[in-house]
């Protein structure tokens, strides 16, 4: 045993070693497009992503309530949120998706034109929603997320449902 070496190493034993967590808090986002505009929901609000499927129309509902689907033994509504996010009505081409969203009080399918990605981003990458947004958008957008060369408006699902019920599914501008 080399005493000198042991002495040197013993200094390290006394050191109160703290491991600094350098990982930033992350969150998962579901990125999608509606009428070529970029949006995102928190991944924690989206239970499932379904391929587009036939939706049963039910009379007496607002046009944005497209109908219902049977999903895992439950009947779920499917809505379009175009009017809430100031996107023109979708002239559907290509593969659309249904995001099964679960908020604090309710859940529903939300039809989107294109699912872009599901990815984890550092919370610091989510910028606060700007004042440049219209009054209607400020009610539902909680952040802006740059991904690649595009900016995604982060929507709060609970605010979307709240706003939907306020307008009772009719165009908020009308």
């Amino acid at each position: 045993m080399n005493e000198q070496l042991e002495q040197i190493l013993s200094h390290y034993q006394d050191e109160n070693r703290e491991i600094a967590n350098v990982d930033e808090p992350q969150c998962s986002l579901v990125l999608f497009k509606v009428a070529d505009k970029c949006f995102a929901f928190y991944g924690s609000h989206i239970k499932e992503i379904l391929a587009d499927r036939p939706v049963s129309w039910v009379p007496g509902c607002p046009p944005s309530l497209e109908g219902v689907i049977n999903h895992r033994g439950r009947v779920e509504s499917v809505i379009s949120i175009n009017s809430l996010i100031e996107a023109p009505a979708s002239e559907s081409v290509g593969k659309r998706s249904i995001l099964m969203g679960r908020g604090q009080k309710m859940q529903s399918g939300i039809r989107v034109d294109k699912l872009v990605d599901v990815l984890d981003v550092a919370e610091s990458q989510i910028h606060s929603a700007t004042d440049h947004l219209s009054a209607a958008m400020q009610k539902v957008v909680v952040g802006i997320v740059p991904v690649g060369h595009e900016y995604y408006a982060l929507l709060d699902l609970n605010l979307i449902f709240e706003r939907y019920l306020e307008t009772r599914g009719y165009d908020s501008l009308s």
Binding site: S56, V58, P59, G60, L65, R74, V75, M106, R168
Partner: protein
């Protein structure tokens, strides 16, 4: 063994639309012989466009609806029995946004159809 739950209903067909009402709530249905102007059309009461004048012209009485004079409609009326597995509760958004009076549940046949109940 628990007997399977089922519900006796009347199925009303108005053109391409179908509605269900619990049979216990339907008092009577008769062919229209003389049309009276003060009796509402079922589709108008539901807030829907006129159904095509096809099938039978019927007069339906459902006292629970508080529409004492009943409604006229064109179409069909059948007695059917629904299994519990064919009846679904309304999704929350539909519960709050539907304009259909007395919409209480959905019935799965070849699509999902409104079940009206008072």
């Amino acid at each position: 063994m628990t007997p399977s739950l089922n519900l006796a209903v009347v199925r009303i067909t108005l053109g391409a639309l179908r509605f269900y009402i619990p049979a216990a709530q339907v008092q009577r249905c008769a062919l229209v012989e003389y049309e009276t102007p003060d009796i509402p059309r079922f589709s108008h009461w539901l807030g829907l466009p006129d159904e095509p004048e096809q099938g039978l012209h019927l007069h339906l009485w459902v006292p629970a609806s508080q529409v004492s004079e009943g409604w006229y409609f064109w179409g069909e009326l059948e007695n059917v029995t629904l299994q519990a597995s064919e009846i679904f509760p309304l999704p929350e958004l539909m519960q709050q946004c539907s304009m259909l009076p007395a919409l209480r549940a959905l019935v799965k046949d070849n699509s999902f159809r409104p079940l009206l109940s008072w």
